[in-house]
């Protein structure tokens, strides 16, 4: 029972982890706390319904196209909305993303309606045994995809020239520019990447939580709480935070009652900020860009 609770907690946590990673990717390079991150996934989920039901696509073609559309959405938001205010302080940047959040919420409600829709892919509840504990196929699939995405991102950031350049821009954009690194392109790329991750999250989440304009609100908050565990900077810290939240809320839900579930993330963040305001994984002093 305990093993099962932990395992399915890790499964949910791995989706929070993806959200947290997307949040950190954007924050590191643009100082932007992107409130619209969840909405990229929400738009992806609605598009997924269209691609499956109206266009008759198979699951993987739908997934690929949703990810592409979300990448385009991320890039579009950066180029059209964020770039003109890119030099502003963090509060302006944050406020601008609130604007994007409301526009996407509003447009989704207007186009697709405000009521929740079922995703035409059902969550595979058939249990499978892993290390002696039972876990549903759907959770296992979500974990596998999250792990795969994590691996791809890790390879990108450590093994490829553009990935290393992205870290160089995080570190010192001025010097990166001097070396000939196209800093603006890299910034667009971070938003495209956040969009891609959102596309996956949207499709993975939709069978669990149904599709509506608000579907991602709570998950985004948990993703942010997880990101704060890494000081909004460390990927490792964000992933650890996300898995901890996933497990803790599942245990709370299982042993204390389901109405305690949502508050767990908030209790954790309050405790974290009280004792380690710099995040769980200590990060060095960072100079203001």
């Amino acid at each position: 029972m305990l093993g099962q609770q932990i395992l399915s907690g890790l499964a949910t946590g791995s989706l929070y982890a993806l959200t947290a990673i997307a949040v950190v990717v954007v924050f590191r390079n643009t100082r932007t706390i992107n409130l619209a991150q969840g909405d990229f996934a929400m738009v992806g989920a609605f598009l997924g319904i269209i691609f499956l039901k109206e266009w008759g696509m198979n699951y993987f073609a739908m997934l690929a196209l949703v990810v592409l559309c979300c990448m385009a959405l991320g890039g579009f938001v950066e180029r059209v909305v964020m770039r003109p205010v890119a030099e502003s302080d963090w509060l302006t940047l944050f406020t601008t993303t609130i604007g994007v959040y409301y526009i996407l919420h509003g447009m989704a409600g207007w186009i697709w309606g405000r009521d929740t829709k079922a995703f035409p892919v059902s969550f595979e509840a058939t249990p499978v045994e892993v290390f002696g504990a039972l876990i549903s196929k759907g959770h296992l699939y979500n974990m596998a995809i999250a792990l795969l995405i994590g691996g791809v991102l890790w390879t990108f950031f450590t093994k490829t020239k553009q990935g290393i350049a992205m870290r160089a821009v995080t570190d010192d954009p001025e010097t990166a520019y001097l070396m000939g690194i196209p800093v603006k392109f890299i910034v667009t790329l971070t938003w495209v990447m956040a969009g891609a991750i959102a596309g996956f999250i949207g499709v993975l989440m939709a069978p669990i939580i149904y599709v509506s304009p608000e579907m991602m609100d709570e998950i985004l908050i948990k993703g942010y709480v997880a990101a704060v565990f890494g000081g909004l900077y460390s990927f490792r810290g964000a992933v650890i935070g996300a898995l901890m939240i996933g497990v803790a809320e599942n245990l709370a839900g299982g042993y204390l009652g389901s109405h305690y579930k949502t508050s767990v993330a908030f209790v954790m963040i309050v405790v974290l900020l009280a004792f380690r305001p710099q995040g769980l994984v200590g990060i060095q002093e960072r100079r203001e860009i």
Binding site: K161, I164, A168, T175, Y177, L178, M179
Partner: protein, 238 residues
């Protein structure tokens, strides 16, 4: 013929005029020094050449072509690299990754690998520490890394902004020896900005002295070394 000719450039930071009228020449395979007190405009001159700052007028000619106002990306591709003031190592990147970023504009895999080996040979300390994060290196090691990162662009002109800043005298002489070696081995020209004028003039053949955004004195290094004016009016040191 790859020589650099800067003619009458002006540059501003918003309302502040940093360069009024600056001209200088760096011939092929020469070491030229640019001296001047704090705020004279030395770094700004280098930034105009590397493309980080756009001059508002004047011309910058490299290998007989105008390059003024181009992006750092295209200027780096044309063979000019700058080692910035204060080293500016990417501190969360490993030594090797820092070097790779210096060669960002290149795509000749074999050439990049060969240069990486060359730099590790030139600075064995960097080889020993190649996996370490840039931010964990000592000041002298960081300066070596900054120079190595500049060399990774495979430049014909390397501009160095105060490479001796904050380093022990012995490390400074090592670095200047290395620069001389580089000029001979790599057919490199060097434009050197320095506060440490004695050292700088010793390794260079020609020098310029700046003040308030203008070149005030120029001459061979011997001439400048004997010129009292250089010490007194512009550097404020004896």
């Amino acid at each position: 013929m790859s020589s650099l000719i800067v003619e009458n450039i002006k540059a501003n930071y918003g309302p502040i005029t940093a360069l009024k009228d600056t001209s200088l020449v760096v011939p092929e395979k020469a070491i030229v020094t640019l001296l001047g007190a704090n705020g004279a405009g030395k770094s700004t001159t280098l930034k105009c050449i590397s493309g980080v700052v756009k001059p508002v007028s004047g011309s910058i000619t490299w290998a007989n072509k105008e390059i003024g106002g181009q992006s750092p990306n295209s200027i780096t591709r044309k063979g000019i690299a700058q080692v910035p003031e204060g080293r500016r190592i990417f501190k969360d990147l490993s030594v090797t990754e820092n070097l790779e970023m210096g060669g960002y504009t290149r795509s000749d895999r074999a050439g990049i690998e060969a240069d990486l080996e060359d730099i590790f040979e030139l600075f064995p300390r960097l080889k020993e520490r190649h996996k370490q994060l840039g931010g964990s290196l000592s000041g002298g090691e960081q300066q070596m890394l900054a120079i190595g990162r500049g060399l990774m662009a495979d430049p014909q002109l390397l501009m160095l902004d105060e490479p001796s800043l904050g380093l022990a005298p012995i490390v400074v002489s090592q670095i200047f020896e290395t620069l001389q070696k580089l000029v001979e081995e790599r057919e490199l020209a060097i434009l050197l900005v320095e506060q440490n004028m004695k050292m700088a003039l010793r390794v260079s053949s020609f020098g310029y002295v700046m003040r308030l955004g203008q070149i005030m004195i120029s001459g061979s290094s011997e001439e400048l070394e004997d010129n009292k004016e250089v010490y007194e009016s512009y550097l404020g040191t004896a």
